[in-house]
Symmetry: D4
Subunit: 219 residues, 8 copies
């Protein structure tokens, strides 16, 4: 059987073979005991660089891991049984403002852990567009760009009009009032007037980093 | 009494004195008879350059006006009893795409009829931002800029970051799917990361032209 | 100057150089005259395989094109000045039901016109999942998969869990009641439990085909 | 009179006769004193296996019950004056992920307390569909299936396409961003492309368990 | 292979075996040619009583069927190759007002075609609750009740509190203003204070009739 | 039995006794045949002044009534078997603009038919508040005021702060863009900062006229 | 001048004369200092029975009142400088469940303080409709009924169909999931199929009690 | 280079030259360390009167500023390196209720810091319109009016109908239930029946003060 039944979880050992990447643990609504159990089952099969996302520092400290782990507090990600991996290609992660760093870093750590090179271009939102325009060379050198922005989310469209590689927009919940926790940025990115922009869920840095890695390493 | 009672309407002859501009007729949900009646009452008091907005060509043709009128089909505006008026200052009306012309022209005709000079910069959306950047001189010469855009509405933010005068954003209903008839652009403009941007209702070219004129001629 | 000013439009001749693909004309809210003007300007510069999307058959017939054009009624796309182009790689376009064909074909024609090979797997929705499972080989052979579905949009998640290449979800407006014109499918795809799925606007077959081509041909 | 008036509550002693099941106490917005009062009135009439749902552990500890009670922390359910009851038929409760356990257990405890046999199939979401497919025999042996899922809620549709008994979908609030606290899963399940799926409120494990028991024991 | 590939459709001949009911054709977004093709493929395999739902009279008349068909205009349903079938059990279909008849009949024809006995109780909404109360005997004799209502959708809750069998609520789009095309009734039914009520999509008479038949005939 | 069963309708002959007013026929989603049938049943029992609301002129002309009827085209109301009735008390119906006349007249005809005196104050919206202030005496003389307004719906609040009788707000669908078909006015009226304002559904002139009559004639 | 300017507040001493009821203080977003200041200004003018609504117990204890006050914790209302007042007429306040008590009591205390007699009928929701039907005499004896309900809010419609006096619906935020904090009940009440029902804001017991008093004492 | 790269931020030293006002720091989602770093970079270039908005008192106290700062707790604004500046023109800031003070003061401090004279007219909401009407002279003397209001937000429309200068509406989140955190006021202001009203985001006192200053000082 290609999965392991823990009762509260069925660990999908088959996933790496099927999708190229092993199971990633979504930490947010799981108890420390559940996460510990799943990680242990994976480690028992020899899994390396296991990602746990949306993991608060407190919950990370409650885990009883069977092996070492690297924890990034900004990105709220733990990498369990971390081993060096050769990185390929180039992904650019651009964000509009300082407040978008947590989501941007979630994307960056994800892509790096999976094996992609990442260039960070932070705080280059459209309110001061000369900052973005000064980075055209970096942007055009990428195989995929992730555009992270809250509020009106215009960054994705502007970058989409400037580059020849795929752009993945990540709306963030940064803002207030009629941002409706990221809905404004999400709708804006979905309606981008620039071609070649696709979008992931609000604050889903992980999903963007994951797909960007897939694009970066497309066979 | 400072208004005239037609039963179905109370014509506000006092408005010009109070707000500087006479009553403007919102044509959309009124019958041709009602519009004719209101215009006639105003004309009877000597009103000039009476604006009728959101007036389809067919309905315009059904009006029995007591005087001449200039009708603009793109803007869907009639100016009744048109008389030349000296234009002052400078308003720039920028729009993102060709599809935004009707709303842009509604703003332009309104502002011009009220007495402002208008410069039109059409189809300079952010998907090809060099078009916008080539117009910086025009933009910086204005006393007020109106930014008209549908889809993701990013134009307002980008212009807001580039100029030192007030920017009025007009979201349009151009788009489909998750544009939700202009909601996406509206939310985007309300959440502009650039300071100094205010917003009017979706497709409200009239309101933007009206307020821009007020700003342009602020005493 | 790298664009041409027609008044109602500023044709972006620079786009091909910047993004790898020339300007695409969004036909929906433009008049036949405007489209004719833009196409003529582009053709005057030697543009080939110019895409006009969301173009009803009636409006297509009203165009006065300076050259030949191929029109696809299901996809509502015209390709102006069509010339053969070598196709590379492989994109799979899967859709859930027969009703999703127009959006699927919009994606397919777009990607083929830009130069990608396309395999169509239509009507393989999850209500009869054996149909999908019988196509695993085809799916795993792709460099990018486009999953087109209305109603509950589950197809994107199921495919996302089965393949190792990027998946682009296209929610469609097929459905009624609480599908809210595609909102249900859009939200479902944005919340996919499978990693590696990004999403474009409701019914945006063009956007999906465009980005899939970019991924398929990433340098 | 077939109810008892406590001022703040009118205890419906007639319900068991009318609907086959006695009054169930919704614990969430009631004070411990109110719950105690209602339970005591019911116990005074000899009620057995009284369910109190959405009861936090702290509030449970504050109750002053007139008799014994079994409390399940995951399901947040207390069963007051618990007595053994013969269980009949078979309900399968399937959930997509480990995070869906609280809602699933609420359904399971409810159905078991009312007198149904329950089989639990947890963490078999569509991102690894082989897990679900390995359980086809269990699923096809049920008289009713409850499908519990958050995020995109695709589980209900996939199961609906595989079984010949009624499926009740329970969307959960698991997710973030555009899941809008379970709205995405709710809409998805309401738009299921599979026939024979009905839906209850977000996180309403109780309601699903209750109706599944009714179906399982339909006379 | 257990399905037949028509290109635009993959006819699921395996469904009857898997779910107990053969493929049902959703007529709304399909062309007459597509429907004709699918029906012909099914008829070629000997299918009887094939349901085509959401089929306008005009479209029905355009079909080129290989066999006879019974068309019900109120329900907008065609039954192709109709053969008599023994009906079992009892389903009650109650609706709140005369305007709910089309949805109610869609449910009724569906359930009857699949093989259930149906009792119709129409126009018994809660604004005159004595009408409903006069039908208690009929209601309590059913194995499943379908409650069809628009506007505030209260019928489902009131019936849910009176019967001991499962109740399926069908919100309809009858109403105006803040009914938001059935959303008000949908939300009301999802939040029913009565236990044992589940809900299908707005105007989804078919889905309710289908599941009610499953409940009525649960093995 | 206190109702009459027509199959498609159960005519509630008991309503007048119960609520003081006989059954009112909501004409919108009923066929002419159904309306004719219901009216005939009521007329057969001697009903007078039977209201049919939301009745288009065309549908009115298709009715085959057993007696005379008065039809008001603006209000889209027919009064069947009209007989004079003594009117009591005083209701003021105020509306913000000329476009609100149809809804205002629906309220006025309803209240007058039921037996209340009505004073109409039309087109006194807050954009020219001197018009409203000139009518204070009329307003303060009423036993109930109905405030009808679209767009931002401010009229209800302003009147609510000026009078000592109950105010019923009727939001109308007049407006465009972010009025969302009357939602803006509805929310505004629900959040009125003035005490003593209650609200009915968007465009529900009938409901307002009905309740105002109840208040005007409270025993 | 008929108001008193405290800088942060302009106390409206004219209101009692204008509307029949003195200023009521909305306590929720004001500081204790602000409330103290406003109350003191009113008391200085001799105001009696001053209502402060939405006042938490803690904030009440921080007030430095110039006179006595009666505080009701369930209703979160303080009555400052309470003096006996003769009560007239009869208002019935009915609520669906025990959880609706706080809102119901807010309505009751408001109406009683203003001078109306109030009869409380609590926990008579439609899931056990015999409880409601047993109170018909009480309901029919009222001059106005307030119907308080969360979840699906059906109580307002059912009562509206049974009585001949005005019904004010108060939706409450009791519920979870798709109740969306009271939106479901609000929409249901706005779409009531019973005539003569108007609605106030979610949880607005005060507004309902205020208007009910106005109706009860209409001159 | 016209900006300074701090890694987590790119400080836009060019903004003052471009827009007339230096960079303003949005304090809400930034860490004290990030704010300290940005302020220090700006101060190092000689910036004066640097605004930090949405800065809680606690976070303000954690800053390690290189210079003095004035902190306003109501407005939640710090002005770093404050220096006297000559104020010009006149802006009126009007608000509807005492609860709107924080947003009003955010607007006032912003405009004053940028160099505008501000007149405050607080608590003049439409429920007691005589308070507003007593201030007509003040209002008509302004070059721009900011209208701040929550709940139904009617203040903007009423003022818009009375003055001849531009009005900027600021909806606030004051209210509950169907105010939906300010959405009701936002929609109301966007749909103002008075011409010349534009709107900023919910609670965006800063944006209104900023644009009002731009209008007040338009060259």
């Amino acid at each position: 059987m290609n999965y392991e039944d823990l009762g509260y979880a069925k660990v999908d050992h088959h996933r790496a073979e099927r999708t190229g990447v092993g199971e990633v643990i979504y930490g947010q609504s799981k108890t420390p005991e559940q996460i510990t159990g799943i990680v242990s089952a994976m480690y028992g099969r020899g899994a390396e660089n296991v990602l746990i996302t949306r993991l608060d520092k407190d919950k990370f400290n409650e885990l009883e891991l069977p092996c070492g782990a690297a924890y990034n507090e900004t990105a709220r990600i733990a990498v369990v049984n971390p081993v060096p991996i050769e990185r390929r290609g180039k992904i650019v992660i651009a964000c509009a403002g300082t407040s978008d760093l947590p989501v941007s870093e979630e994307a960056a750590i994800t892509a790096e852990t999976l094996g992609s090179n990442v260039t960070r271009l932070y705080d280059i939102g459209v309110a001061g567009i000369h900052r973005l325009l000064s980075k055209l060379e970096e942007l055009n050198d990428a195989r995929c760009v992730i555009a992270v922005a809250g509020m009106e989310g215009a960054l994705a469209s502007v970058i989409g009009g400037l580059v020849s590689c795929p752009v993945i927009g990540v709306p963030t919940s940064i803002g207030y009032g009629a941002s409706f926790n990221g809905l404004a940025a999400l709708l804006a990115m979905l309606n981008s007037c620039a071609s070649g922009v696709s979008v992931v869920n609000i604050d889903n840095g992980f999903g963007a980093g994951y797909q960007a890695h897939m694009i970066n390493t497309v066979k």
